[in-house]
Symmetry: D2
């Protein structure tokens, strides 16, 4: 495969401003590969990065290339790479840990203590180093996963989202066959959690939200019960009824508000679990004594750690989860501003928007 | 529902001899219910009990009623029971722990330290107390699980088998989405493990055995690869090929021989897991240093503990596993000898044989 | 040992009013023993019960006997008891689960789903059934632990407190050798956590509080660092210094306020753990996004579950923890009001006050 | 600190033959430091390496320097190292994983799938790369731990042994306060396990062996019971007596024979744990059905993984374990042959022999 010297890339040239420019195609270093990017999803975090920058991250200058949900073809191997071959189709995970802090050595690389420190080996593609809104990009082998044959590049861009959802199960053990699960917040993560819960054999999956259209999507992708709190439906009543009065084994808070966390505390069975999968924008005010009295454990996850992107691609290929309906729009790299706009403003009911850097 | 005073029951009147007799219908004590038994499976353990008795169990006299894989209808509630209602359809698990030994208090009731001690509260239906080869039987609420509507009584008798298989996943965590799994031994337990592995999202499931017909069943129920060691197929070659040379994450030894355990040690990836789910009739001779060098953890399970019968019924109802083809024959109670014969001698390719005590 | 028919007992005759009366000595039922109570501690919960009653508990009438931290001598065995002999010295734990709800069957009896339901078998001595402020009381064998020879009855009354502290380690695994631990709140539970941390091999134990005298006790019982936030000492500075800037592996919130929980979120290392061991009187307001960003897991415990009272007695006997200085006062049963008063008002710097029902 | 260009090193010049030679002082690469080695222990594995080589390891040529239990002073920092300063005293662990295989990414670096592959980043000091029998050596920061002030260099060489013992607890959870523990095999590892068990609060520690002198050492370092099977003492009798007939919670097989593993299966309580910490030279023959019937889990560990060397140094400094009596002899580098001889032939009751490369 012949690799050009220059490529098109969408560079974050200033706060809030992306520009498609011609830049030099990067070279893979030891342990790295060069990818031809075939598809790269637009994520809420990208909007954050473009408009505000993420706290704790390096200043983004003229040459920073965003995009962390991508898939492509291996076109060149860096020194010492034999894990992959040229021509293979791969999806990525964001986080490559430094490999030398306490957390990385122990396998918890998404909370690398050298986050953002390139010199020490940390790299988060599209966040702290260049990512996928470009024709080519470089990834360390640690962040690569082969794409099963029946998964398209577009669909493979959802492997990180699915990996996050799987990690949110993994963190508390992940064995939920026959359990009752509640997901609060029918956003992309919440809808994916519903599917993963179903895929792993949860008995009842209850989805709680406020937006009718999203709850309907939830029902389609596998929620047994949907509860619209805007319409005075009471999730506590419903969960109690389903569980003989006891509550859900696991409640995911994918909404990230005081009210959603308080509801989670009410819905969980004594001895149950809550997983907090949303960022809480504001301080939350909750009756935490409910957690203590009911001996509820509260879990969190950062990113898509512990190889769950690989697990995600597997259950996507098996058909245990089907997130493909989430991809609603695609654009060439040149139209990246339109892509962001479509995503942010939910134009045409957009859910997931994908960029095709190869045109 | 009117309950008669007398009922038909298949009594183990002497070693090796079952006789269908008229006996008194038992009364449920506190915390117990009376069940009208609708179906009760014949299990290899029943043959053991009939012909030899199980070590550590009480002597079986004239009135002992075997049968531990049954399902029926609640017809009477003992004192204090409000967990179930008359008329509900339920399946059972074998083990009711004493509730007062270290293991039971800690939730490990299948290894109750007062096993077989009725006075202290232990009961294993069909093993240490009367079971399901009768028109009626008594069960403690701890051993009962509601049967989902789309599960027949016949099918519900397989909940214990499926519960054992699930427990064999539960014991090491049970989170296998995307993992490579090997099952050695395509008996009923092995075939169920294959299905559960698939049901929980394992990426590759390899079934290793020696009998062609059973391996074909294995392929039908979800094994991605079947390996017939009788035909010189080498499981090590195959697993290495699938796993880029590394080995399987989890290997189940459902064959129970030196050779199967040695193979398990060879097939597991360094850092992987082996679950021993078969009784080893003879002492095994294995190179255990392989386990130490590869840091392999070896797990075991006894029975269908930690509420996995409930989990089993759920994933059966969800269609995640389909064991119904395993049920090949049924007989009325009067023909129990023929039922045992059919089961033991695999008459007409019998796999699972069910007794219908109600005729 | 001759057992009288009548005994003295401190009865909660009305809200806020305890009266020492002569009542009938209870008889142990199946699985129970009769204890001659030698010592029974006064706990904050007793004050709660006396003055307000605990939510979810039965109405307390004339004959209710409080006291849940007691130790005594087995004087009579109920039917079927062979786990203990008459004459043995035993300490108790509060919670006897029903043995038939989901949580009890799974070994989580302190969050019994039939809490307070005597008919179903639940009993919390001194909380939902009669306890230890009496000459005699009845306990189920599940709640009894032999007292090692070198532990006095008085000291054995602290086994529940120590059991709670151990459970707070057990809940997240309990393996802390070499870890840095912070305890916020130097009350009896906090001080015990400091000792247990030291006893289990934590490398650094930091105690954070506001009261100088208690912090000094903390230093005596093993805290490597004490931080008085009232005196503008900043726990974050200190913990960062100790941990090369990273934070503590485990932070216990034994203070139970918004501020203590927020501090816990600040002190924990990314990937670390927080254990909430206090009841939060009011709703807490915290920046929960810190937990999500740092992937902090938040644990809770209810009571002294999973046989940790037995573990507590063992490490007390081994001298790994020494709580005996906490016992500052003792009174005969007749002076129970004075005992409560001494405890509540910290008369003479009282920490733990013990009742001696035998005089 | 001035660093010479040449140094003395004990090179394995041929199978079975060590020669002290002058070689070039190595340079630390990125992420590495140069250590001045102050003390390096002689281990059984060194004898293996010298006389046979370890399977799976690279051929050892003229310049290979053994020694994997060492401690020294940081004298030079490689590129990008800020975790340590020149002048700091450090101990080492053997295993630096590749950082890019499945096991390393998941935190299980002692079973690195690229074991021995230097190009991919794996290094096991003194096993696959040069180690500590030299005046200077190079280590990656991942393998370094600060030595607490009250620990000498000599004593710090035991951190790997202690780290192995701790890892053997860590693998099954490590929470043993109040538990009954049996260690079979009173070698250095077994004796260390006894101490760690005591250090972590085990209630009873039973040591089983055949050599009287070693059992006496065991008693001195904390074994509550020692059982000499050569003198017809029956460990089963003794453990049953201690545990009311039930068995030990955890049994460590540090002897590595069929007989020791069979004994372990007999000694463990139903539901208990066995940890296999010895290499089994020959195939073992055991009644594995005992494990299945009693639901015993069998664990293994390879090396001193998951940062347990750091935990070890901490509990050594705390005085929770005291292994210093194990160090019986020391020699300058020039006398390395004598040191090996003393160790191998237990000259003067040698247990641990240490080399002082600085003379």
């Amino acid at each position: 495969m012949s690799i050009p010297e220059k490529m098109k890339a969408a560079c974050l040239v200033a706060k809030g401003k992306i520009e498609v420019k011609e830049v030099v195609v990067p070279k893979p270093g030891p342990g790295e590969v060069l990818l031809r990017v075939e598809a790269c999803g637009v994520c809420g975090t990208d909007v954050e990065i473009r408009d505000h920058g993420l706290p704790g991250q390096p200043l983004f200058g003229e040459h920073f290339i965003m995009g962390h949900e991508y898939a492509g073809t291996v076109v060149e191997l860096g020194e010492g790479v034999d894990e992959f071959n040229v021509g293979e189709r791969v999806a990525v995970e964001v986080h490559k840990g430094c490999g030398r802090c306490y957390n990385c050595i122990m396998g918890n690389y998404t909370v690398c203590l050298n986050y953002g420190n390139k010199e020490k080996g940390h790299a988060a593609g599209g966040m702290t180093v260049d990512g996928g809104f470009a024709e080519y990009t470089v990834n360390h082998v640690n962040t690569l996963y082969r794409i099963p044959d029946n998964i398209s590049f577009d669909y493979a861009t959802l492997a990180t989202t699915a990996g996050c959802a799987l990690y949110a199960f993994n963190i508390f053990g992940g064995y939920v066959a026959g359990d009752t699960i509640v997901v609060i917040g029918p956003g992309p993560v919440g809808l994916t959690l519903v599917q993963v819960g179903r895929g792993l054999g949860a008995d009842n999956v209850v989805l709680v939200g406020t937006r009718k259209s999203r709850l309907e999507v939830g029902r389609k992708v596998g929620a047994d019960y949907v509860v619209n709190v805007k319409e005075k439906e009471d999730p506590i009543d419903i969960v109690k009824k389903i569980t003989n009065g006891f509550g859900a084994h696991v409640v995911f808070d994918a909404a990230g508000t005081s009210s959603s966390l308080e509801t989670a505390l009410d819905l969980a069975i004594a001895g149950g679990k809550i997983v907090m999968v949303a960022f809480y924008k504001d301080p939350v005010t909750v009756n935490m004594s409910k957690a203590v009295k009911k001996q509820i454990q509260l879990y969190t996850v950062r990113g898509e750690g512990r190889r769950n992107v690989g697990r995600a691609l597997s259950i996507m290929a098996q058909g245990k989860i089907d997130l493909s309906p989430l991809i609603t729009h695609s654009f060439p790299l040149e139209e990246i501003d339109k892509a962001f706009d479509t995503f942010v403003n939910r134009v045409d009911n957009a859910i997931k928007v994908v960029i095709h850097p190869q045109g």
